[in-house]
């Protein structure tokens, strides 16, 4: 029954944070300011170690095979053949067909298996099929599901469809954690990224994630900052901590440190754990390892000494 006979319900007070808006220039200026932090010595070692522990080592190619995925899983468990003190990565992220291979290799290692799903990367399939796909990957043992939102629905204003689909996927995830990929490059600006972030969190996302890595552009520092601010507002309003995953385009240790500094200074130390922060990357790890060695040995390094998997 509507509160006012003949009327309709107005959200007099928003249950969540206000959607609000984002000023692009100021957001980018803040991101650039934080990117200018000079992280040296022990503080850099901490960051590099953290970057590895928060890394979702990723392969998402049509040519992926069990052999390729097995090798990647091995690297994720022990990233540095020369140094056992280097921690394992957080997860290995693969296509659904490769989940059994990854599960088999990673069992007992503490490294999670993440699977993309829901008609990745476009999301342009019927909801029922997406839900079914998620059921499959969870049944195969995936610990984490990286779903994509339906950008077609979002951009045409059918926010309800986007929301309902995330809810449906979340329901079948069970114990698996749900990362919701916004594919920020396709949304058309920071206001939309903020709106999509809030929508995904409202629908139950455990993480929100920038990109598939398959679009024209991927994560950027201002985009992550925009999403972190949404996460912070949700935490303020509900007490819930939603995780952040930046993915795509992060190839150097320097970039990784910049992303971590931004998380540190926006959300605080509490988010600096693989439980709440991930870096999705395919070629970042070796650069981080090289930097670790440089820091420890005082010598510049060569890629010849780091394995390509």
């Amino acid at each position: 029954m509507p509160a006012l006979p003949g009327g309709f319900e107005l959200p007099a007070s928003l249950r969540l944070t206000r959607v609000g808006s984002v000023d692009a220039v100021a957001l980018e200026a803040r991101a650039a300011d934080l990117a200018g932090r000079s992280i040296k010595k022990e503080s850099k070692l901490l960051a590099l170690d953290l970057a590895i522990r928060c890394m979702d080592l990723t392969t998402l190619e049509g040519a992926d095979t069990p052999g390729k995925v097995t090798a990647l899983c091995t690297k994720a468990i022990r990233p540095d053949a020369q140094d056992a003190s280097v921690p394992s990565c957080a997860a290995v992220c693969v296509y659904p067909n490769l989940v059994p291979t990854a599960v088999a290799r990673l069992r007992g290692s503490g490294v999670k298996v993440a699977s993309v799903a829901t008609a990745f990367p476009s999301g342009q399939s019927p909801t029922a099929i997406k839900v079914r796909e998620v059921e499959e990957v969870v049944a195969m043992g995936a610990d984490e599901v990286d779903m994509v939102i339906d950008r077609g629905a979002f951009l045409s204003g059918r926010y309800g469809k986007v929301y309902d689909e995330i809810v449906a996927v979340k329901e079948v995830c069970g114990a698996a954690h749900l990362k919701v990929i916004l594919e920020t490059a396709e949304l058309g600006g920071y206001d939309a990224i903020r709106r999509a972030s809030l929508l995904a969190m409202a629908a139950g996302a455990d993480f929100i994630k920038t990109s598939t890595g398959k679009a024209a552009a991927s994560a950027t520092l201002p985009i992550q900052l925009c999403m972190l601010e949404a996460i912070r507002d949700v935490h303020d309003a509900t007490g819930r901590r939603v995780g952040m995953k930046a993915a795509g385009g992060i190839r150097t240790a320097k970039q990784a440190v910049q992303y971590l500094v931004q998380v540190h200074e926006t959300l605080g130390l509490a988010w600096l754990t693989p439980d709440l922060y991930r870096l999705g990357a395919s070629s970042l790890l070796n650069d981080v390892l090289m930097q670790l060695h440089t820091q420890r040995t005082g010598r510049y390094q060569s890629l010849d000494y780091f394995t390509n998997d």
Partner: protein, 495 residues
């Protein structure tokens, strides 16, 4: 996840100091007059110190009346030649200076931070590049002055410009003053601030490298007495002053009846006005920039936050959290957000006004932050429950101290914002375009930043309304202060 991986207990950033090796500071400096270093006539000197460590950096000459006279005579002697130089040639000197500043940018940045206490990231990313940009901008005007003012085809320089600059942006204010004066064919006697003379003295070496003719720019260091002597000197045709309103008024009195041209860039109590529809996180950035940029030692600082009551609680919570992240400390550390307070005297003034805020019943908040033991420091400070009548809402504090007031309607915001003798700057934060323009029209201030704050550019005229002074610096308008402009019309010759 099933297993919780603990976050690190702390992530302290290791010190990342910019190297001091790039600068060489002499034990003592003379005065730069007629292209030479000369001893002050009375032989008097004072120390300039680093406000971050209180270490003495150098002994600075106290210019007396005799020295000022000597400098004015040097400038007067250089004037005919400099004014007669084709504009294109003057331009090339200015371009040279701009380039030399860029080449020696690191040196200037480190020296500025050492002597004045501002964070290296600001001197490196703002002060020095903007100073170079000012010279570059006005260089281009030097041979185009007849295009600048329609109906006034034959602009002429005034003669000798006496320029007195403040301690908050020593090199940048030098550039704001010297660049347009030289571009228009005037010669200069510059008096840097007592507590921050080093970059102006280093600038003299740039002039040497640029081959600027002797006497075109003269630098006479000293305290207020030196400035007063410059203002009083009959051989000066124009006075340009940036500093406090109190001193500005005394200068205006002093030049009364002398026929000297005068421009004043004085104090402010800028209102930063946040509406409930603003992009809040970015507004917070603007508020923080507005009050902590250069430790709040900024005449156009957004020292009054006017926030719409419906969003005040949320905004202030965000503001406090953001301020907790500010890193106060060594100005030379690349991660420092807030450096040292410029002088013991300024620190005492900030402390006195903050105490008045407490006494008058406003609520004070400061983040927990460790301040270094030596040197002059003040943590970022936010006063809430501030009334319009409190001293902290009326007087310029010139430190990182923000006074928060609330408003209910746009009319009330305008009324409160304008309710001050000052009129230098204002900020407006709202997503609604028509409201921005409505506000911008009504705010009695020389600069209105909408959805941004504390932006500066050589092309953009800057200056105040009311007791914030008169005249503009920057842009085409900045030329007018240094030119005699005759009009073709009736009575035009008398300008």
């Amino acid at each position: 996840m099933t297993d919780i991986v603990p976050a690190p207990a702390a992530w302290e950033y290791a010190p990342a100091p910019e190297s001091r090796a790039v600068v060489t500071i002499a034990p003592a400096y003379g005065l730069y007059i007629g292209g030479e270093w000369v001893e002050p006539a009375a032989g008097e000197r004072f120390a300039t110190i680093s406000p971050a460590s209180e270490e003495q950096l150098a002994e600075i000459a106290q210019g007396g009346e005799e020295d000022v006279d000597r400098a004015v005579r040097a400038a007067r002697a250089a004037f005919p030649g400099w004014a007669a130089l084709p504009g294109a040639e003057r331009a090339k000197y200015l371009f040279r200076i701009a380039r030399l500043l860029q080449e020696r940018a690191r040196e200037f940045a480190v020296l500025e931070s050492l002597d004045g206490g501002k964070p290296i990231k600001e001197s490196r990313d703002v002060d020095v590049p903007l100073a170079a940009a000012h010279f570059f901008y006005y260089a281009g005007w030097a041979d185009k002055l007849e295009y600048a003012f329609p109906g006034r085809p034959q602009p002429r320089p005034l003669g000798v410009a006496g320029q007195i600059i403040p301690w908050n942006f020593p090199l940048l204010m030098l550039a704001w003053k010297v660049a347009p004066a030289l571009a228009t064919g005037n010669t200069v006697v510059l008096k840097p601030a007592e507590s921050t003379p080093l970059t102006a003295l280093l600038f003299c070496d740039v002039l040497r490298q640029a081959g600027l003719p002797a006497g075109v720019v003269n630098v006479v260091t000293g305290d207020g007495r030196t400035g007063a002597a410059l203002v009083a000197h009959p051989g000066v045709d124009k006075i340009a002053f940036t500093g406090s309103t109190e001193v500005g008024k005394s200068i205006q009195r002093a030049v009364a009846g002398s026929g000297k041209r005068l421009t004043l860039e004085l104090g402010g109590k800028g209102a930063n006005i946040v509406f409930d529809d603003a992009a809040l996180d970015q507004a917070v950035e603007g508020i923080v920039t507005g009050i902590t940029f250069n430790q709040g030692h900024v005449c156009c600082a957004g020292s009054r936050l006017l926030v719409q009551e419906s969003v005040a609680e949320q905004l202030i919570a965000k503001l406090r959290r953001r301020m907790e992240k500010l890193r106060v400390g060594d100005p030379l550390d690349k991660n420092t957000d807030i450096g040292a307070i410029n002088s013991a005297e300024q620190l005492a003034r900030i402390e006195e006004l903050v105490q008045s805020g407490r006494d008058e019943g406003a609520t004070i908040w400061q983040p927990a932050c460790r301040l270094p033991e030596k040197g002059f420091w003040y943590p970022p400070t936010v006063f809430t429950e501030v009334a319009q009548s409190h001293r902290i809402a009326q007087e310029e504090i010139f430190g990182p101290v923000l006074s928060v007031l609330t408003f209910r309607t746009p009319d009330e915001a305008v009324e409160k914002a304008n309710n001050t003798p000052y009129g230098l700057s204002a900020g407006v934060w709202t997503e609604k375009g028509s409201r921005i323009l409505w506000m911008a029209q009504r705010l009695r201030a020389g600069v209105v930043w909408a959805n941004t704050y504390n932006r500066f550019d050589p092309t953009s005229p800057f200056g105040g309304y009311k007791e914030s002074g008169y005249g503009r610096e920057g842009g085409r308008h900045g030329l007018a202060a240094y030119l005699s402009l005759e009009e073709a019309g009736v009575g035009g010759g008398e300008a």
